[in-house]
């Protein structure tokens, strides 16, 4: 039996029946990593010994538990911008040096309390800034479907690890599309919950008004299971919501009758890959066949979203990254005085894309430019949020492609930063408005590369998003296809 190909719910079932043990499952995952990661390069740090200990402990608990929690004994990969106690955390940057966090962030604590096994830390674009995992200070991760292509970013390592069965599931973060776009590139399910649904405590901050943690899984049922464990108020995160967490698995009814689906015309633009448009429109027809009521809608300010995002997110990032100063942790350069120490530590520790965004963010916040850029962008952001509020008066969900193209070649977009930024066009507005959205597979292009469908819901309506995604997935079975590694 190919243990590493199991989903959370399949593995949980076998663990409960004592058909397999967590130690066997965990060992199989590490063997799979050893056999494939020289090609995929999904992982930065592996936690083998700790993982086996966690697996043994899970097996003990499984002996005395008739109804174990779904994550008990399940090997999960964690993006390397989550703080993990005692386990090196790099954020794919040189500036953190050999930083070993003195605490677990809330998501990691919740995973461990649920009995999950932490396999290791996955690669990302440095400080979560990027759409391809090429901005990692260490090495690029490769797409398991075609090793010359990007896995997407910034959660490229997590996406590739799930697609390659190098873990049963993973967690990532999404600020401008960083869970959804790599999920689309790698043919897996990736969800960004509503802003405030999952705690940001212990996530290395990029843009604090948009960062969110989310599940990256092999199917939608797993997404619901993992989200259930992650969601909920956290006193340590003052932006986390007090709203009760519904039973997400119970939402997977398979019933889409009278579901009102909006398809925004601004998301079908010239320059998008024809096969992506075709697959997305075909997916919408599938939803109609299942009883949904489809209507074209308009999100008029879509074309301004990239400009708004790259002002607001870089401004927030420039502030969040001021703490990397070489004083209390991380890399400190040898220099003649305090100012030189700051300037050289940061120059040597940060990569080019991070520096570019810090510079842009500092500029738009600086005296003389704040009103023209930052304040202006925040006003347009209100308008973008209003566009969605208007749309949700007439729809329950909004359906779009996740990205304008399938995964491009490694190195293809690194020459022009603006070209890379424009590839985020379909995911970015959702972060600006704080809405929940999922990406799941809806087909393949002529080169065999996965195509992603994005389903967007209203604030805190993850249940309807999951219900829609699950029904589509079960009717089409794209998720059963796996890359040949």
């Amino acid at each position: 039996m190919n243990l590493t190909a199991l989903t959370i719910h399949e593995a949980s079932d076998k663990l409960r029946r004592r058909e397999i043990s967590s130690v066997e499952l965990t060992a199989a995952v590490f063997e799979r990593i050893a056999a494939t990661d020289d090609k995929v390069r999904a992982y930065l740090t592996l936690a083998h010994d700790q993982a086996i200990e966690q697996a043994k402990s899970a097996d003990e608990q499984l002996k005395s538990s008739a109804n174990p929690a779904p994550l008990l004994g399940i090997p999960i990969a964690v993006k390397d911008n989550f703080l993990t106690l005692g386990l090196r955390t790099t954020c794919a940057s040189k500036i953190l040096g050999d930083f070993i966090p003195p605490y677990n962030g809330t998501t990691v604590e919740r995973l461990l309390s649920a009995g999950a096994v932490i396999v290791g830390k996955t690669n990302l674009d440095e400080f979560a800034m990027g759409s391809s995992a090429e901005n990692s200070a260490f090495f690029p991760t490769r797409n398991p479907w075609n090793l010359d292509r990007i896995p997407g970013g910034s959660s490229g390592g997590s996406a590739a690890a799930v697609a390659a069965d190098q873990c049963i599931a993973a967690v990532g973060t999404d600020t401008g599309g960083s869970i959804r776009q790599p999920a689309a590139c790698c043919g897996i399910v990736g969800m960004k919950p509503t802003y405030g649904r999952v705690s940001r405590y212990g996530i290395i901050a990029f843009a604090s008004s948009m960062d969110q943690v989310g599940p990256m899984t092999k199917d939608v049922r797993d997404s619901a299971l993992l989200l259930q464990t992650l969601a909920g108020h956290d006193p340590a995160d003052s932006t986390s919501s007090h709203l009760p967490v519904p039973d997400y698995s119970a939402a997977l009814t398979g019933n889409l009758k009278s579901l009102r689906v909006g398809v925004p015309k601004e998301y079908f633009i010239s320059g998008m890959q024809p096969e992506v448009e075709h697959a997305a429109r075909q997916a919408v027809r599938e939803l109609e066949n299942a009883g949904a009521l489809v209507a074209e809608i308009s999100l008029p300010r879509t074309e301004y979203a990239v400009a708004v995002y790259y002002i607001v997110a870089t401004a927030e990032a420039s502030s969040n990254l001021a703490r990397y100063d070489g004083m209390r942790f991380g890399y400190r350069a040898d220099a003649k005085d305090l100012t030189e120490t700051y300037m050289i530590s940061r120059a040597e520790g940060f990569g080019a894309e991070v520096k570019r965004r810090i510079m842009l963010g500092t500029y738009v916040l600086s005296a003389g430019y704040y009103d023209a850029y930052y304040l202006k962008a925040q006003r347009v952001r209100t308008l973008i949020k209003n566009d969605f509020a208007e749309a949700f008066k007439q729809c329950d969900v909004i359906v779009t492609p996740t990205a304008p193209t399938t995964a491009f070649k490694i190195g293809e977009k690194t020459q022009d930063p603006l070209q890379m930024y424009l590839s985020d066009i379909y995911t970015i507005s959702i972060n600006l408005a704080g809405l929940p959205a999922i990406s799941l597979p809806c087909g393949f292009d002529g080169d065999g590369m996965p195509i992603g469908l994005q389903i967007i819901g209203n604030h805190f309506d993850e249940s309807t998003v999951l219900r829609t995604a699950h029904a589509y997935e079960q009717a089409t079975e794209w998720h059963k296809q796996k890359p040949k590694l």
Binding site: P102, R379, L432
Partner: protein
């Protein structure tokens, strides 16, 4: 050009980033290109629009001013580039 070399130097100082002349030159071009793109926001009239402040419009979260964490100086100093007992050791701040 929206952005001059002098402005890039000013911003680099604000951001505490030492740039080589080549990096400064490349950044000037790249940031200028990006800022020209940002100009499209001026197509929108935002005269009566409030700036976005929070996705949730929720009340500010406050707690009582009580210490709830345990003293943990050693763990917190473990990653220090330089330390002296319970202090982070840093370059001289006052001249």
């Amino acid at each position: 050009m929206k952005l001059t070399r002098e402005e890039v130097a000013r911003v680099a100082l604000l951001a505490r980033l030492r740039l080589t002349p080549d990096q400064a030159s490349a950044l000037t071009d790249q940031l200028d290109h990006i800022l020209v793109y940002m100009d499209k926001l001026n197509q929108i009239d935002t005269a009566n629009v409030e700036p976005f402040s929070h996705a949730l419009d929720s009340a500010h979260a406050l707690r009582s001013d009580k210490v709830t964490n345990r003293p943990n100086a050693d763990a917190l100093l473990a990653n220090a580039p330089d330390r002296d007992e319970t202090f982070f050791k840093v370059p001289k701040i006052l001249e």
